[in-house]
């Protein structure tokens, strides 16, 4: 069976797959990295968003073959309990999630935005997160938290 070397959260993981088109989402979850969530499998909801070389991508739309050679970061690798990423800290501080199923994808999209733009405006945040759906209605807190994470009042 063909195998693939993936760089995930800073370490190299060798994964066997008979299917070069296996979506990265299932590969990650198979590795026990279950913070990345299955939402639609269609690239429509953002629940499975991870970083690939620092860019937010929907992992249900990226194949294992395409992921090879890229640095993949999932929510588990973004920060740690002792040193959470500023977006994670702000999401906790502002008690953003309700059910929290969208939260992983939201944080990854927001982290990608912040890496590109240190002090995004509310419009930047809304447009960077436009693909990320939330059914519980946590949007207002998401925007507030991202503003706070970039040292601004939301």
């Amino acid at each position: 069976m063909p195998s693939y070397d993936l760089r995930v959260n800073g370490s190299v993981r060798r994964v066997d797959s008979s299917d070069a088109d296996k979506p990265l989402l299932y590969v990650l979850r198979g590795l026990g990295l279950t913070a990345t969530k299955f939402g639609c499998g269609l690239g429509q909801c953002g629940a499975c968003t991870v970083l690939a070389d620092g860019t937010a991508v929907q992992s249900c739309q990226m194949t294992i073959a395409a992921a090879q050679g890229k640095a993949i970061t999932t929510l588990e690798g973004l920060g740690s309990a002792s040193k959470p990423h500023p977006i994670q800290a702000a999401f906790i501080e502002h008690q953003v999630p309700q059910c929290g199923y969208c939260t992983s994808g939201m944080i990854m999209s927001a982290a990608a935005l912040l890496a590109k733009k240190q002090r995004p405006g509310e419009d930047d945040i809304r447009s960077a997160l436009e693909v990320n759906l939330c059914r519980c209605g946590s949007h207002v807190r998401v925007v507030r938290a991202v503003m706070a994470a970039s040292g601004q009042r939301g």
Binding site: L75, C99, G100, C134, V143
Partner: protein, 743 residues
């Protein structure tokens, strides 16, 4: 096969110092009901009349709270411990918390209808008050003091005058309370509260943000297989034949067929996904659904309708005064999906003589009998354990997925995880039912409501039906419950205002087009939309400002206060609707609505400012002001989060959402055919909470949903002079309404 319970620890500077509330998720692997034990080692008592069912004092001085209601993201995991810790007299960091496990928690009913705090929490408050009284009495004997000279605080009972106290664990020793809940056990004076009323952070939030939260979707058992169920292309179709050739080369895929129940099972999840796509099944034709474009007529003329008069009070003024205006209007609310962000998922381990099911169901206890029935097991051999899932707002597909998993686990003899696809979830989740309302009324020039008659056409609820028929057992030909359960959808069909005559008649429909289930604030978003829109129509007919009109006929002081607060938040200018901007290219307007939820729970007044673009028919909600009174507030930030979410979700439902179907199937099966609110649609939200510590706490998850439709429609009318009576207010529909008014 028992692993240590996973614990999620959370600490944050606002948590009471000294530690953190610990939430124990029941990830303990297999544990039969017979062997399930409480923390102190004694068998768990599950009778909700007994204190020990809810509370256990542990040897280390901590207290475990057992809650039959579950946290779906709405914050019970902090609110219930706040209530228990406060009433017992112990720090919140000493509370451990177990929820929704049929083997460990008492049956407190389904987590629905905004009853988590007002019923579930209040049972636990009374249990804690009973326990505190017992602990104080024990300490009085030990210390040879009078109970009234003692106080329970910080996990011990000590003399009020000072001096050493005795810890709860030491007072109780290795005994349980052995007490029935005492309805007369004195409750603490809310003025003395130090934990209830504080915005303590929810213990699950940090884990959700760090990626360590355990959802049912993430739960795994040794030897577990992954499954996908293949639903028919048409509702009611039967399975004719299956061609397994296309999946033969996929690794380890097994096809399971039980009558019309078809599934694929594999060790690898992606293999199951591919197999479900590639398997070729032939199904019979079926076209059991009504034509969507004739749905309103279909409801009105459905066979087998039973009529019920719900309200008939007062007498119509006869003859009506000369200046009276009579009005009549029809309102329609479509079928809507829970549209949970994560498709439903469950894990089951079914053996010959017992079954364990891990599910995100809101009603683990309620479902136990249902599962026992289709599995052919005694009820006490079936255990349902709640694990958080993707948010559901009533009954989505969680319970169906759990039944699928149970059927498949039994078929393959191994634990099975079933994950629904996006199309499964949008297509097959039980739907919020369609609701049709006619309202007729009369008003005089002073705004006196002379007559009000509501008629509604809605699906009936089958008497005594706790759950809904489940797809898996039905397809597999297993014993299944039969009937409809859309929830309590007929409430709030009458106005909260004084009128000479009010009548509400329900035409109960024998059937529903798609399987109905309760969806957040069941029925009330539609009923309140109709009632509060019609109230505005009466106000406009009388030429009176909408707030002034309501205040003339409202007597409840809590309601009056909220409406005044909203008026102040919005700097409301007293004038009739529509406003002067009615001809502008982008017309702006304001509207409001009010509800006393179920006429005996939460009060909400809501104002909205909208912009309507005439050319496109697009509506933008720019600002929402909400004044909210749910009695005693347990956790203000938790209440705010529920209101924010309820408002945004309902704006989504009102502007965007309608299940589309043809004669055979649901057509809106993804996020492009069933769009929901996005970040670009966000309004400004302003929330004003009224705390009434001496009133009973009532729900915060539902009431604010009900005022959204009418506030929005009333604001659109104020902006354009056009009245929207059919949800959703899509641009095409708005444009058509604007054009028909212009012509």
């Amino acid at each position: 096969m028992s692993a240590p319970a996973e614990k999620i620890r959370f600490s944050r500077r606002t948590v009471v110092k000294g530690g953190a509330l610990i939430v124990g998720f029941a990830l303990t692997g297999r544990q039969t009901s017979a062997s399930a034990q409480g923390t102190a080692g004694a068998p768990r008592r599950l009778d909700a009349k007994e204190v020990d069912a809810f509370l256990a004092v542990n040897g280390d001085g901590s207290v475990t709270v057992y809650c039959g209601k579950v946290d779906l993201g709405q914050g019970l995991r902090i609110a219930i411990p706040q209530i228990a810790a406060e009433e017992l007299g112990i720090g919140i960091e000493k509370i451990k918390y177990i929820e929704g496990d049929t083997a460990l928690t008492p049956n407190q009913g389904r987590t629905s209808g905004s009853t988590g705090i007002q019923r579930g929490g209040m049972q636990i408050r009374q249990a804690a008050a009973t326990a505190r009284k017992a602990l104080v009495d024990l300490a009085a004997q030990r210390l040879k003091l009078k109970p009234e000279d003692l106080i329970a605080a910080d996990g011990e009972v000590r003399p009020k005058a000072g001096g050493a106290g005795i810890g709860f664990a030491s007072l109780l020793g290795d005994r349980q309370f052995d007490l029935k809940l005492d309805p007369d056990a004195p409750l603490k004076d809310p003025a003395s509260y130090t934990i209830v009323g504080k915005s303590l952070p929810r213990p699950d939030v940090a884990a959700k943000c760090m990626g360590t939260a355990a959802y049912v979707h993430d739960f795994a058992l040794p030897g577990m297989q992954h499954a996908r169920v293949i639903r028919p292309p048409a509702i009611g179709a039967t399975l004719v034949s299956v061609d397994e050739d296309p999946v033969k080369n996929l690794p380890g895929v097994k096809v399971v067929r039980i009558n019309n129940f078809l599934a694929v099972v594999a060790d690898d999840e992606w293999a199951a996904v591919r197999a479900a796509r590639e398997l070729r099944a032939q199904w019979s034709e079926a076209s059991l659904l009504p034509a969507q474009d004739k749905l309103v007529e279909t409801l009105r003329t459905a066979p087998g309708i039973t009529d019920q008069t719900l309200v008939d009070k007062g007498t119509p003024v006869s003859p009506q005064p000369q200046n009276a205006r009579t009005l009549a209007a029809s309102y329609f609310w479509p079928m809507q999906s829970h549209a949970s962000l994560g498709p439903s998922c469950a894990v089951a381990d079914v053996r010959a003589d017992e079954a364990t099911v891990w599910t995100a169901s809101q009603g683990t206890h309620d479902n136990r009998a249902t599962f026992a029935r289709f599995l052919g097991l005694p009820e006490n051999k079936v255990r349902l354990i709640y694990l958080e899932g993707s948010g559901c707002y009533g009954m989505n597909g969680h319970e169906d997925a759990a039944a699928d998993a149970a059927i498949l686990s039994r078929a393959v003899g191994r634990p099975v995880r079933v994950q629904w696809s996006r199309a499964d979830e949008h297509g097959w989740d039980p739907k919020g039912p369609p609701q049709l309302l006619d309202i007729a009324g009369a008003v005089d020039a002073d705004g006196r409501i002379l007559d009000w008659r509501t008629e509604m056409w809605i699906p009936q609820t089958t008497k005594g039906l706790l759950n809904i028929p489940l797809l898996g057992p039905q397809a597999a030909g297993l014993d299944n419950i039969v009937g409809l359960n859309p929830g309590l959808i007929s409430q709030n069909g009458d106005p909260p205002y004084a009128a000479d005559h009010i009548q509400v008649v329900v035409h109960w429909l024998k059937e529903a087009p798609l399987r109905p289930a309760p969806l957040r604030s069941p029925g009330k978003p539609a009923n309140c939309f109709a009632v509060e829109s019609f109230t505005d129509e009466l106000a406009a007919a009388a030429g009176i400002d909408p707030i002034e009109f309501r205040l003339r006929s409202l007597t409840n002081p809590r309601g009056i206060e909220l409406i005044r607060r909203v008026a102040a938040m919005m700097k409301w200018q007293t004038r009739p609707s529509p406003g002067a901007e009615a001809k502008a290219a982008v017309a702006r307007g304001r509207g409001m609505s009010y509800v006393h939820y179920k006429h005996n729970e939460t009060f909400v007044a809501m104002g909205m400012e909208v912009a309507v673009e005439r050319a496109s028919g697009g509506i933008k909600v720019e600002r929402v002001c909400c004044a909210h009174d749910c009695g005693q507030i347990i956790n203000p930030d938790g209440v705010r989060a529920q209101i924010e979410g309820g408002i945004l979700q309902t704006i989504s439902r009102v502007l965007l959402e309608e299940v589309k179907f043809d004669r055979s199937r649901v057509l809106s099966v993804d996020w492009s055919s069933y769009p929901i609110l996005r970040f670009s649609d966000l309004p400004r939200l302003e929330i004003d909470l009224v705390d009434r510590p001496n009133e009973p706490p009532v729900g915060a998850g539902e009431a604010a949903c009900t005022t959204v439709g009418a506030a929005l429609a009333n604001a659109v009318y104020d902006a354009t002079g056009v009245r929207l009576r059919t949800v959703p207010f899509t641009p095409d529909r708005v444009k058509a309404a604007l054009n028909s008014k212009a012509s």
